[in-house]
Amino acid sequence: MEKVSVIIPVYNDEKYLRQCVNSVLNQTYHNLEVILVDDGSTDQSPTICEEYRQHDHRVRVLHKQNGGVSSSRNAGLAMVTGKYVLFVDNDDWLDEQHVECLHNLLKQKNADIAVGNYSAFHPRNGLYSFFVTPKDYYQRDYTPAEWTGIQYTNKYNLSQVYTVPWGKLYKRNLFRNIQYPLKAKVEDDLTTWKVYFKANKISFINKPIYWHRLFEDSVTAKVDKTSLFPLTSIEQRIAFMRVANLDPEQAKIDIANENAAYYWRLGVYHDNFNEHNKSHYHDALLKQRILKKYGIIQL
């Protein structure tokens, strides 16, 4: 059995952390290294981490000064000794066959990244959202450019699946020279795509194997919308796709998707003015003017 390193960034999560770690330690796939990165928590989380470390030899713990989730992911990546890497967010939990399922898929398909789907849980009212049912099952292999083609697909919540770091098993070497950005408010949109393009093959199963706790006040709700939908990530992807020699037909589709997403995001900036993003607001308006002048968008 090859070793899989599971990185869990932990920050002030005494309420749900046990459910998360238990779901990892109870995996049907045993050869794990569980890396708990405690990002300077001020509640019981550090103690809970230590409990697990003493109770299960597969658990490793890093207590660090608070530096944000990017710094925790980076620190966790630096500790990895397994051949594969997997991320779990500290208030989410795994289906008990999560690792086995992704590991089998990766081996069978000789892929570099194996990806599954997820379901969401709303703690506010105790309801679940199922984006995928058993009859929706399919399995498909993608090149990175093809996989990027699904990036803005709403169906089965694929857009979210593409962007988040969790719900995927990665070959560890894909993270060579990858750092999650410390200064950005939202880290995954700026990073995950770079990992994909280091792969040759990405295998996806449309099966929910991850439980994502959706807080109304989570990052998605709390951070202002403009930092949730950065323009820079799209600019980076377009620049990369123009300069890299991708399959021309696929590149055309991917760039057209990015363009459409960019116009949409400019609209988000346009509609969400606040004092903190004044410069970005004006910059977005300037860009809208340029695109309007060249007949690309209507305002």
């Binding site: 770079k194 620049a239 300069v243 410069s279 004006h282 860009k287 340029i290 695109l291």
Partner: protein, 291 residues
């Protein structure tokens, strides 16, 4: 007549700003306002600006607590009432007193929204002025032609294209402009966008604006070509040009050059994340170029 607003953001430019101010106030085109934005200088900049204001009613002065070049420009822009805008550094000056008159005439003749000429480089260390012999011809460009022209690489055209300073912009062009404070370089991040908004750009192939280089005795801000390596601004430019279907081959070459620059210099500059970012991007680009 058309009123020109000249905006000078100044930070500790006390040794040089008098020359900038004089070169503006002595222009043969007299319908102008000179907006001096003193960005929390700790030297005699404020006093010199105030003296100028008392002597000439066309001068306006704003004193800010130190908040950076972008915010200083924003303040100047908000106060501008002219039909045209002209930005310059408090270290630089206008080479002749008909500069503004000629630029304005060219803009009007060609119905261009941007008028510019080339520049002298004055070396502050040895007092030498770098002089190029140019043919004094005037030519009008569409934005797409102008973007191609930049990369032909002669006459410091790259710097001339990029610098916000020393150009006449029609006011409407910058109605939404807000110089983004955290950009590595406000010139590299902004000037090209204003060109895209123009229909015509008129370039006079002669030297006008004098840029003072190698100023080591003052922490003032200036146009620094060494900063022209920022990645976000070239990525942004490639994205926008792609969307409006301009050719981008020159920009792609420039992008690779900048990535390599970051790979070579980021570690010695102490920015590990920047280094990894450049290394990683070059790696994935190479991977797909080999195929």
């Amino acid at each position: 007549m058309s009123k020109i607003s000249i905006i000078i953001p100044a930070y500790n430019a006390g040794k040089y700003i008098q020359q900038s101010i004089n070169s503006v106030l002595e222009q043969t085109h007299t319908d102008l306002e000179l907006i001096l934005v003193n960005d929390g200088s700790t030297d005699e900049t404020a006093a010199i600006c105030e003296q100028a204001r008392q002597k000439d009613q066309r001068v306006k002065v704003f004193n800010l607590s130190h908040s950076g070049q972008a915010k200083a420009l924003n303040n100047g822009l908000a106060a501008a009432n002219g039909d045209y805008l002209f930005f310059m550094s408090g270290l630089d000056w206008l080479g002749a007193n008909d500069n503004l008159e000629r630029l304005l005439q060219a803009a009007k003749d060609e119905q261009a929204e941007v008028a510019l000429a080339n520049f002298y480089e004055f070396n502050n260390q040895n007092g030498q002025t770098l002089f190029q012999a140019l043919d004094d011809k005037q030519k009008t460009y569409s934005p797409q032609e102008w973007f191609t022209f930049e990369y032909q690489g002669f006459n410091f055209m790259n710097q001339c294209f990029t610098s916000l300073y020393g150009k006449l912009f029609k006011r409407d062009l910058l109605q939404m402009a807000d110089f983004v404070n955290e950009a590595d370089d406000i010139h590299d991040a902004n000037t090209w966008k204003f060109y895209l908004l123009a229909n015509k750009i008129v370039y006079i192939n002669t030297l006008m604006y004098v840029a003072r280089k190698n100023v080591n005795d003052s922490p003032s801000y200036n146009f620094d070509p060494a900063k022209l390596n920022a990645l976000p601004s070239i990525e942004e430019r490639i994205a926008i040009l792609t969307m409006i279907e301009f050719p981008v081959q020159n920009e792609l070459d420039e992008y690779i050059r900048r990535l390599k620059y970051h790979r070579e210099h980021a570690l010695t500059d102490g920015d590990y994340y920047d280094y990894l970012n450049a290394v990683n991007k070059l790696e994935i680009i190479n991977k797909y170029q080999e195929k």
